[in-house]
Symmetry: C2
Subunit: 375 residues, 2 copies
């Protein structure tokens, strides 16, 4: 990108919004524009937001309202006019946009004669490598996730086993919803928000995106997947544990032990320079060797049906991926390692930790025990 080219970002669509947060330090509930140039950043926010934007934005970011840019009346709220004014203020002649920039606004800018193109590369590749301040923020979110996990597992472990293996707390049936409520309340104590937390028992746990609902039972595997976002920093945590209240059947134990072995083997491979695909392939190999095949059965994919992990930062899913995209790990990456196995009729198991890639290996962002049977 040369001096005459700027990258324009519009908040509101998820990837670009976190890029603006990353680059400018500012977030807001309503859409606003950010122009990144070789010489700094330029925010255009409503007059109402100006004070907060000036307080929160990083050094090198200038804050303008439409009024500051000489726009009045209807022009003040028009994104095209705002972009033209920002370009003029920043001295750029050409625009690049991220691939998720709104097509409608892109076309309008083109029609207005502005030289504009979709950037070929991600807007913030540097986000993959976290500095110490970011890792500290991620660690706090992960600590919140661990505290909530301990609370959730504690509740399941304390449940009485009633008729038909139904779990009870006092006289009430223990449900996925009740465990999730306790998890979310615990996250609030850590100034984090949990949404879409998974507490899924038995066959519900064999669909990795089923959040779980209804009564929980002894003897079934229960997946708890907690991914809180800090309300203060915007950074995420991510952790999964699988537990079973009461003794588990031998086949279910084997399933758990296969996932645990694959996760430990995967963690041991994490270090700078390794291709993340190798870690994923190793998980696949371990499962195959133990007789847990990945295949389509009665129209459903069973076995190891997702990637081994993903980056975590201002987005819950970001680069680098640990799967089949050929990415090489670097020091400062923060990734999850979360192999899993899913067989309807038997159950689902997933074990996930979030780790930072260090100079010579990895470090857990927060420690959390792994224990399957809660006896």
């Amino acid at each position: 990108m040369n001096k005459l080219t700027g990258l324009i970002l519009l908040s509101g669509s998820s990837p670009s919004t976190t890029n603006i947060h990353y680059l400018s330090g500012f977030t807001a509930p309503d859409p606003f524009l950010f122009l990144k140039t070789g010489s700094g950043g330029f925010l255009c926010v409503s007059a109402m937001e100006k004070g907060r934007a000036e307080k929160q934005s990083t050094a090198g970011t200038q804050v303008f309202t439409p009024g500051d840019l000489g726009l009045a009346g209807k022009k003040a709220w028009n994104h095209v006019e705002q972009i033209k004014a920002l370009m003029s203020r920043a001295g750029v002649k050409r625009l690049q946009v991220p691939s998720d920039f709104p097509a409608g606004l892109f076309q309008t800018l083109e029609k207005k004669g502005i030289s504009i193109s979709v950037a070929r590369h991600p807007a913030c590749p540097e986000r993959k490598v976290k500095d110490a301040a970011e890792i500290s923020k991620l660690r706090k979110s992960q600590q919140a996730a661990v505290a909530a996990m301990k609370a959730g597992i504690g509740l399941i472990g304390s449940a009485e086993i009633g008729k038909n293996n139904t779990l009870y707390i006092g006289k009430e049936k223990l449900t996925s919803e009740k465990v999730r409520q306790l998890i979310h309340k615990t996250l609030i104590d850590y100034d984090c928000a949990g949404v879409e937390t998974i507490v899924a028992g038995g066959d519900q746990g064999t669909d990795p995106h089923e959040r779980g609902h209804g009564p929980l039972f002894a003897g079934q595997s229960i997946i708890l997947d907690i991914f809180p976002r800090s309300e203060k920093t915007g950074y995420w945590g991510d952790i999964t544990r699988t537990v079973c209240r009461g003794p588990a059947a031998p086949e279910l134990k084997k399933l758990y032990n296969a996932v645990k072995a694959a996760q430990l083997a995967a963690l041991k491979m994490v270090k700078p320079g390794i291709c993340a695909d190798e870690i994923h392939r190793n998980c696949c190999d371990i499962f195959e060797k133990r007789g847990f095949q990945t295949l389509e059965k009665e129209g459903r994919h069973v076995g190891f049906i997702h990637g081994t992990g993903h980056g975590v930062g201002l987005d819950i899913h970001e680069l680098p991926r640990v799967g089949r995209s050929g990415e090489i790990l670097e020091e400062g990456n923060v990734i999850t390692i979360e192999p899993g196995l899913y067989y309807p009729g038997l159950g689902g198991v997933r074990i996930e930790d979030t780790v930072a890639v260090t100079e010579d290996g990895f470090r857990f962002l927060a420690a959390c025990p792994k224990k399957f049977e809660l006896l």
Copy 2:
């Protein structure tokens, strides 16, 4: 849109994702495609999501995996290939996209020779008018908001007034954070999530997007703005109250009474057929008449610095707006009425209810008292 044209939506960016939810009944954490045609809806989701998609999707929506569409290997995960296959399956020759469709994918589709254009009109204008089932969902979220509001106001009202008007609960200072935590925990009991809830006292409350932080004081106006989203239905609630622990100064009471009068007058105007701008203008007039001017003062906009309201549904801000966009209210609209006044040095006041437009007026989604001074 004729029979040969389909509207293609990609989940992940906020407005389109809720449109997909509205049209298909399905949501998922990872991006997926939805094609709407004259004869129904076509979802393309990963194999992992298929079971859930079939369960959740509305009648008339067909669910496909890339495999079902004959895509294998790398093609299976390519959005362009998925779109081409969906078009072929649905028998459409031309595509329209919403204006927030990603520009990168739009360009790629164009280059592949697909006839594609940005739709001139919103994808789901019918979302503005809610049916009875939607209003019932919105009412539940609003009831959660009211319960959380009562809990938050109860906590502020129960605080002791200490030195320098600092508020205390027992020996601990009462902060915005503590009130917010109680609000969020209450929302969880109603299966709702609250994020970015505002509890802002004194001058913090004069910046409508400041969430509020630190100790709260007697004698200051404290704005509580709670907007929960139901984790079950995806529908939002929205309510704002302003309170003052202990007696308020006469000027602050005047400010409160002006906002309360404007809100009541605005509510009385709500009915089918009225232009929403009239309601907004009436609020402006009431404030002017009472001597509360809207203007720029020392570089900050003060007075009535936002619109009177907005639609609420699967998005917290959706159509119709109650401001300056000329929209005519219809029976079945669900809107907020939330005038406010903001003067640094004096304080901020906002009062907001969410109401359904009925045949001959409006109905509160949930009742909540309005009382300024908590004595």
